[in-house]
């Protein structure tokens, strides 16, 4: 199978007849989890994941006493792929969560200063990304799910120390929409949105977080090396494609 996919790509074709820079069908459905303060389900082809946001009250970090806290976590549960294993998040899940976190944070997506409740008391925004089916390109899908979930997150009411979960005081202040586009290299060809079979034959992946204004808000290289002279071309593809992805939100 792997050799077949490589040969196809060499001939300028893909297993599912897509163009090299074409995404599979993207489906973003907000508000899919009733219990969560915000949520979204994202499908890219057969890749499916859900992001849920929970709001909790906590103490601010000592070096940013005026700001709320953002925590992004990702789970690759064994239900989603024969390659995922039981146990705490592995390096790939941790890396994915941290890259999504960096993109959201760097783009100043959430106005964290508005999340202060009182001295020593702030809102903590927990974004949990759960993979349901892994058919490749989890990072791009995860960024869409996280942003879509944040966009419909509501801040619950507080009475004393207690959070009243079913009543809300307003929306989470979200002011930017960064998305992640991963540009993948197979030999000397560049492709987007690899499915699980294609992911096995990738040489490397360069993921760019691009914010609403076309600025770069995160970069992560994975896999084998990338020619220095190719980086700019990969960035241009990511900037161009980010506009299309943002329309799905």
């Amino acid at each position: 199978m792997e050799e077949y996919i490589l040969r196809l790509i060499d001939e300028g074709r893909r297993v599912d007849n897509r163009d090299f820079l074409e995404y599979r069908k993207i489906e973003v459905v907000p508000n899919v989890i009733k219990r969560a303060e915000g949520s979204a389900s994202v499908k890219i082809g057969n890749t499916h994941l859900i992001a849920g946001v929970k709001m909790e009250i906590g103490k601010p970090f000592p070096d940013s006493p005026e700001e709320g806290i953002l925590v992004v976590n990702a789970e690759f549960p064994p239900l989603a792929s024969p390659e995922f294993e039981l146990g705490p998040p592995g390096e790939d899940a941790i890396e994915l969560a941290r890259v999504v976190d960096r993109a959201i944070r760097s783009a100043e997506t959430i106005e964290l200063k508005k999340l202060k409740i009182e001295e020593e008391k702030v809102w903590c925004v927990f974004v949990d990304i759960h993979v349901i089916n892994d058919d490749g390109n989890l990072l791009d899908a995860a960024s869409l799910a996280a942003i879509s979930a944040l966009l419909n997150t509501q801040i619950p009411k507080i009475e004393g120390e207690k959070i009243i979960r079913e009543e809300f005081t307003g929306k989470l202040p979200v002011v930017n929409k960064p998305v992640i586009v991963s540009v993948c290299r197979v030999g000397n060809k560049l492709i987007l949105d690899p499915n699980a079979e294609e992911e096995k034959i990738l040489d490397s992946k360069l993921s760019f977080g691009i914010d609403e204004n076309g600025k770069i808000c995160a970069i992560q290289k994975q896999g084998k090396p990338i020619k220095f002279d190719n980086i700019e071309k990969m960035l241009d593809i990511a900037i161009e494609k980010s506009k299309e992805l943002r329309k799905c939100l």
Partner: protein, 235 residues
Amino acid sequence: MKKEVKLIENGKRVDGRKLEEMRPISIELNVVERADGSAKFSFGDTVAVASVYGPKALFPKHLQERKCLVRCKYSMAPFSVSERKSPGPDRRSIELSKIIRQAIEPSIFTEEFPRASIDVFIEILNADGSTRIASTNAASLALATAGIPMRDLICAVSVGKIENKLVVDLNGIEDNNSDCDLSFAILPSKNEVTLLQMDGLLTKEEFIKLLNMAKENCMKIYELQKKSLKEMYEK
């Protein structure tokens, strides 16, 4: 995490450096006598020690039929930072271990050692920014002192943006207050980038400038690395 501190005054940085100036670099080789190869690499007050064990037999053998397995562990000593870091892996060090592994592996002729493993252990003794960069440089030198067949050395550097100026080699306070920091490593002879990570906000133009600054400074590190290895063999 941003503090109100002036990081650049009259073109000089908090530690008196110019914008495109790296901190003093020091390299010591074979600092861990028991290891097959080791190196200590410092950028100013950031000190990383790397040691290499291998190639050695890997069990179970079927895990790697065609090439050797490169394993890498980055860790920060509890006393290396101002507030004690609890020992053991955290999410950050797990990500960095992966990133550093992918940064150094392309330099090794892994196909020459099927069914074997090469283990690289990195310890940050003192942290003052750019620790993954010091680690990558130390690891590359440790591999070379271990006599492992390599395509080339790996050279790494950090670049970033502080107070709207592009700078090289961020120290701790600059890192915490930067608008952007970018980690970069290159395999010089092939002009291939093996590590590229960025957080912060950048325009495309700034990014391209930073890339070129990073590459230029990696070449300076390359010369220092080669010099230290030559001196070791001349002794």
